[in-house]
């Protein structure tokens, strides 16, 4: 396939993952804000916006943090390049670009979701509709992934798409953990102390991991357990270990299809060896922030190597 098409496909699925993660984040924030007094609610919205990486854009426009401002900025602000509407335009543009590398079912799933989202978000979103908007974005991801699983040939297109998904997801989980961790644990002495369980609940909800975590840990919420779950538990589909293992398989498949390994495979192997040798104690010893920084950098390095190995741009 064409390098340009592979690039379109890769980014189409990165953006789709990003917009889905933004929706999860918003969902968690919404729930949190509802159970708080107005002062902490404002704090919560500030945190949602900054975790979504949209702080500077938001503050350039708004002096205060309110729910209705925050979700409208995240969902539909045309001045916000990371808003759901802007992202979805980009997803669809990439889908059009890679139109003959995806099945008709995947294209229709994206195109229909784009139409629905555009309609719903054509007007300011009030409190009664924000839940609907979030659900619609999540459903868009579910539809596209379902259509892909059920209708696409397992050729390089499939693996480029999946690589985009897992690169983005790895980045997203790392970022949520990093930002929330700082917010929640201003100093190391807090580790292991009794915490605001509501805040940790938000972290889990942001990655749709609250239910899974409760089942595994019988309702016992502590920082170490949560970090271990989100970083090392390879049964949870949004953990770093899971994303890395899935990405490794996609890259191995690409190498097999092309009959050669590239730099991306090599970097992948290094990252893999590193992660699988670490225990949660060692991660806390080196500092979670330091650990996350290193792994986000290596993830970005792998993404760049994929683009180079498969001639996305030149």
């Amino acid at each position: 396939m064409l390098g340009r098409t592979a690039n379109g496909l890769f980014w189409m699925f990165r953006y789709l993952e990003r917009v889905e993660n933004t929706a999860r984040l918003l969902d968690a924030g919404l729930r949190m804000a509802l159970t708080r007094d107005s002062v902490t609610a404002e704090e919560e919205w500030r945190s949602v916006i900054s975790t979504a990486g949209q702080k500077s854009g938001y503050e350039a426009k708004h002096g205060t943090y309110t729910g209705v401002q925050a979700w409208n900025f995240i969902l539909r602000d045309r001045d916000n390049p990371a808003s759901v509407t802007e992202m979805f335009d980009r997803i669809r543009t990439n889908a059009r670009l890679a139109r003959n590398a995806i099945s008709g079912e995947v294209w229709e799933a994206i195109n229909e979701s784009w139409m629905d989202i555009r309609d719903l978000l054509s007007r300011p979103v009030g409190q009664n509709h924000v839940g609907e908007a979030i659900a619609m974005v999540r459903r868009a991801g579910t539809l596209a992934h379902g259509a892909m699983t059920g209708s696409m040939l397992r050729d390089e297109s499939f693996h480029f798409a999946r690589a985009g998904t897992f690169i983005e997801r790895f980045d997203s989980t790392s970022r949520i953990l990093d930002i929330k961790y700082y917010l929640l644990l201003p100093s190391l002495s807090y580790v292991g102390s009794s915490l605001d369980t509501g805040q940790w609940d938000t972290v889990l909800r942001s990655v749709s991991g609250d239910r899974a975590y409760r089942w595994i840990n019988a309702g016992n919420i502590d920082a170490r357990g949560i970090v271990e779950f989100l970083v090392l538990d390879d049964r949870f589909p949004r953990s770093l270990a899971f994303c890395q293992s899935a990405l490794r398989q996609n890259l191995a498949a690409l190498a097999r299809i092309h009959g050669r390994e590239g730099r991306s495979n090599e970097l992948m192997r290094q990252a893999d060896t590193q992660l699988s040798s670490l225990t949660i104690e060692e991660i806390f010893d080196m500092g979670l922030h330091q650990f996350l920084l290193e792994f986000m950098a290596s993830n970005a390095g792998i993404a760049a190597a994929i683009a180079e190995d498969y001639r996305f741009l030149r």
């Binding site: 340009r4 139109r99 003959n100 195109n111 390089e156 498969y310 030149r314």
Partner: protein, 475 residues
Amino acid sequence: MSEPAANFDEMRTAQGAVRPAYEGYCNWFDEQETRLLHRKNSEAEKNFRRTGITFNVYGEDEAEERLIPFDMVPRIIDGGEWRRVTRGIEQRVKALNAFMHDLYHRQEIIRAGRVPERLFRGNEAWLPNMVGFTPPGGIYTHIVGIDLVRTGPDEFFVLEDNARTPSGVSYMLENRETMMAMFPELFTRVPVETVSDYPRRLAKSLAACAPPGTRGKPVVAVLTPGIYNSAYFEHAFLADQMGAELVEGTDLRVVDGKVKMRTTSGYRTVDVIYRRVDDEFLDPLTFNSSSVLGVPGIMDVYRAGNVTIANAPGTGVCDDKAIYSFMPEIVEFYTGEKPLLPNVQTWRCSEKDSLAYVLDNLSELVVKEVHGSGGYGMLIGPTSTRKEVADFRKKIEAKPENYIAQPTLALSTCPVFTKSGLAPRHVDLRPFVLVSPDKIDITPGGLTRVAMKKGSLVVNSSQGGGTKDTWVLKE
């Protein structure tokens, strides 16, 4: 404007009787509940939106995607009638290819005094780079759209030749898909020739035109200007249906005397390029040096016989309406036969007597720019205001050689489904023709374009025209 008197209706005779070709359909139609039909009609639109069969329109604000209106009453052509039409099309397409070969070689037709030299001198679509060069298989126009209009039983006229890059074939295919999805039982009752194998036939026809040095199975690619082009949907659709790569200029590069595309595993040779970009955007080294759409050096590869470009550069010369006016002579000159499909009577304003006639009868005539297309830059005398006619007169007087004129034809009508039931609207027909050294392959039917406004004669989608599924009945 008043309805043109006594035009031919495709479905019914002047006495109101259903024509034989429409019997099966009308029987079915009479059994349907109107409410259900209305519901199906809105379903069809949803279906087009969902699958993204849209064309882009760029206004002052942001890009907008529009649907071409679809009408669910098919245009039906009797099998025998179609057979006669295809013979005429075949003859015309052969003549077009022979004419282009001659134009770029010895120009016998000019030496013989059958067409004047000024026809292509000064015609920008005529490319000096093509002189003396014969494309692989000797074919210039591989994919042709011959626009036909009808005025009576067995009276078809050619309105226009689209030899450069005819578009609209994706609508032909999607209209049929939509009809089959909406009314499956209709297709079990009426025997309709299939059109859905067009992409396969296109792939085969293009592969058969590969350069002689091609090794193995020819690699075909569709060259598009990109996602912002109004016909991008069609480009992507055809590439997808053929299993061919959809490339842009930036994906291609000339390496070792071949055209290659950048794939995920390096540069791979392309043997046949089905290009949907204009000549001037093909090669910035040869044509438009400011173009970012083209492939530097591709014309050298082409002239060395190492790649096929379909349609060949320089075929646009035949889309010229001044050349059109000579088609009867051209057909006769190269085939030795009288044209089976007549032209619409045409006055060339470049000729003194014709000009005088045209200026005297402007309010009765249709006047077109010789290089115009898409229904732009034309005057339809009978539907224009006095001021419009006067303004157009000035344009013609300033540059007569830029215009041709034709009588306002009583185009046939075919019913469309409206809120208040069936109502006649004017239609034309664009059959799609594939040309390879092996054969001339005409898909049964084509694209029927329909003027959605009552009385209107303009069927172009850029001017609000719609489309219909077109049926050729099995004999």
